[in-house]
Amino acid sequence: MRDRLLEVRGLDAHYGDFQALFGVSMHVAEGEVVAVIGANGAGKSTLLKCIAGAMAVRGNAVLFHGVPIGGGPAHETVARGVALVPEGRRLFPSLSVEENLLVGGQIGRKGPWNLKRVYELFPMLEERRHQPSPSLSGGQQQMVAIGRALMSNPTLLLCDEISLGLAPIVIRDIYARIPAIAAEGLSLVIVEQDIVQALKTARHVYCLQEGRVTLHGEAKTLTREKISAAYFGV
Amino acid sequence: MSDVRVRHASVSSWIGTTIVVLATVALAAAPWWAERADLRLLAEIYAYVALASLWNLLAGYAGLVSVGQQAYVGLGAYVLFGLAMLAGVHPLAAIPIAGFAAALVAVPVAALIFRLRGHYFAIGTWVVAEVFRLLAAQTSALDGGSGTSLPAAVVLSIASSRQMREFTIYWIALAQVVVILFAIVWLLRSRYGLALTAIRDNELGARSNGIDVVRIKYAVYVAVAFGTAMLGALIFLQKIRISPDTAFSVNDWTAFVIFITVIGGIGRIEGPIIGTVIFFLLRQTLADLGAIYLLILGVVAIAVMLWAPKGLWGLVADRFGWQVFPLQRRLVLKKR
């Protein structure tokens, strides 16, 4: 099982008295792109937060390189090589584009990604490097958020709804860069509501419904009927 | 809908209220069973229960964390001294006047310091207290910075015999704390109390539910100033001597009051009472230590804030579900 980069086993997660995840299990192999789909409130973002170490969960519910990392702290999880592109981008508004990227790189992990490489991936960011991040368009901000996560040179990149609120052409543009990112040998977990996009990008797909995994399998083997049954519970 | 009504009382609050009533009667009779020194101590305890209850209303319920309530203790005291010494007003009549004067002053003060958000509000209240202290020190008619004493004629006008004077002040002190506690219970049981509790628990939520948070905070600030000034007036009437440094002392009228409330349980009516009892017990045993005593008190308050943020009464109330004052609202089904 050496190729199992990430393994989630029987993960429960709570917000106070509310339980958001019930015994979720999944795994990601090295170099693999995995998509997590599901309706609003299915627990997709919660799952990513648990992997990123931002939620208090059982330690051995999340294994990374076989090491229990559940419950964080988040900054140590980043140092281990897990980076998150958070939902809604969450750029630092008082920092410029380049400063946002540099914050991502502050952890100091060695690897292929640096300012130069990120600007090669997203050339339009270089022209705007000194602009305040809120002055960018939504799509450009999403590129900064991805670049910021890449700057920490992760082996696992978690992307939370990168298509949210963006025009279809912009979404296609951003997803077109995913192969180039995966080519650097890192694995991705992509949370998406856009099922078509998710199935196109990922090899494996997990579907969440009300905090439980209702379906998983290889993207190309899943039929539309199976997915809508798992998605809506009908 | 009509089958449901709101009940405030619980078994423990019936027991609690009965104890409070009996204790009040016993304490009112204290001049017949207590020593003179004990009466003075009791009056001091009442003052601290009342001051802490008012601060609790301000900080614990309305979210207005003031570290400058000494402004109103001192203001009330100075108004009483000024009226009694310069205008010939009877000192007992001057107590309510001091309250009204402070409420009047609190209106523009609140308008100013409410512009400061959150933490900075706290320091703003301190600046106000400093301004009052410096102004008192500039008041040459009351001997400015060195302070002054009430003349014998004023003291004698309270009552001609020393014993009667002490009894009178004692009873007023008791009446003050009873009225203040009663008023707070009444306020918290009214619809404003519901609003205040909502503000305490979630200010944003309260705001979005149509509660006029600013107006309620404003009203609480002014009302607390009114009560605090009357307490200050009586405290210094008993002391007979006043100076800017004692009347506007941050240690005596704010640090102690905050520690009492935090240790007893902030945001609960019982908290200041329990806190005051603990405070005086500690003081009787540790008073010889001087500065160390305050240091210990500070450490205890920080420890309580970190590990038992609801205070000692909070621990008790959570464990046993007790409440002394009938405040909680429960919905009960009417029997048909």
Binding site: - | L297, I302, L306
Partner: protein
């Protein structure tokens, strides 16, 4: 000419107030914490300087080499061991804990050093002055103090906008949970911010000890001066804070010139007037 001198002295004093304010607004900016014990920590630094000078027999200004790292260390430990636990949505815990800290420091110092006021002697530099013509003279010490204030503010400005740690401060200030997800350890970042704040406090404490008599009880007034400088200058603006300190210093100097009793009162009134007319401060930071 007397008035010109008064204003000049006020400006120089304002530098000191700006330094009271700089440490206060630094930690407010990074972690939204108002440290009520700030003034008492300044006094603590003055006593650390006193002990250092007495133990080593060095010039007080030289004692900075020891006082600054000692205070910075205290700041880091204080933040990580105590203050980080108080941070959150509720305003009450940090306020009450730093208020308790203020009382603890004051009474601890009182117990150790008594209420007697003391002063550090920096030697000849204290009485030297430079004639600037027209019968005006500027004391060398106030000048050093003002120059240090400008240097501290400029240094903070540089640190915040030109260094990695400054970037981390701003990122954490913007969005602490997101910063944590990007690999910044908030507890550590906050610890560093408090260490930096207390390093400034150390400089201020030594200057205060050389400038005038001090005793354990003078802390709260320093907190209030610093706070007033912050509010007059406008939140979040470091050069504004310097301006706020200067306005406060000049107001106090003018007040004292009119009547010695009006020294502090004039400063408070200047603050209240600004609060009444321009609650956002004179030079608020423009949000970009």
């Amino acid at each position: 000419m007397e008035w010109l001198n008064t204003i000049l002295q006020g400006i120089l004093l304002g530098g000191l107030y700006a330094m009271f304010a700089a440490g206060l607004s630094l930690i407010f900016g990074v972690m939204r914490l108002v440290n009520i014990a700030h003034g008492d920590l300044i006094v603590l630094a003055a006593y650390v300087a006193l002990v250092t000078v007495q133990a080593l027999g060095i010039n007080p200004l030289l004692s900075l080499v020891i006082v600054v790292p000692v205070m910075a260390l205290i700041g880091y430990v204080l933040q990580r061991a105590l203050l980080n636990r108080t941070l959150g949505d509720d305003l009450l815990p940090p306020l009450l804990v730093t208020f308790g800290l203020s009382v603890i420091i004051q009474n601890g110092l009182l117990e150790l050093f008594t209420a007697d006021s003391v002063k550090l002697n920096a030697g000849a530099v204290e009485i030297e002055s430079i004639a600037v013509g027209g019968g005006l003279a500027i004391g060398v010490l106030p000048l050093i103090q003002f120059a240090l204030a400008v240097a501290v503010i400029a240094g903070l400005q540089w640190l915040f906008y030109r260094t990695a740690i400054g970037r981390a401060f701003r990122a954490t200030s913007d969005d602490p949970s997101s910063a944590q997800l990007m690999g910044l350890n908030n507890s550590h970042v906050f610890g560093l911010a408090m260490a930096l704040s207390l390093a400034i406090v150390a400089i201020v404490g030594v200057l205060l000890a050389v400038r005038s008599n001090f005793d354990p009880a003078i802390g709260p007034a320093r907190l209030i001066f610093g706070f007033e400088a912050v509010i007059i200058g406008g939140l979040g603006s470091m050069w504004g804070t310097l301006a706020g300190g200067i306005i406060l210093g000049v107001a106090q100097a003018i007040g004292a010139q009119l009547d010695p009793g009006w020294n502090l009162l004039a400063g408070h009134i200047a603050f209240l007037v600004v609060l009444a007319l321009r609650p956002q401060g004179l030079f608020p930071k423009v949000q970009g």
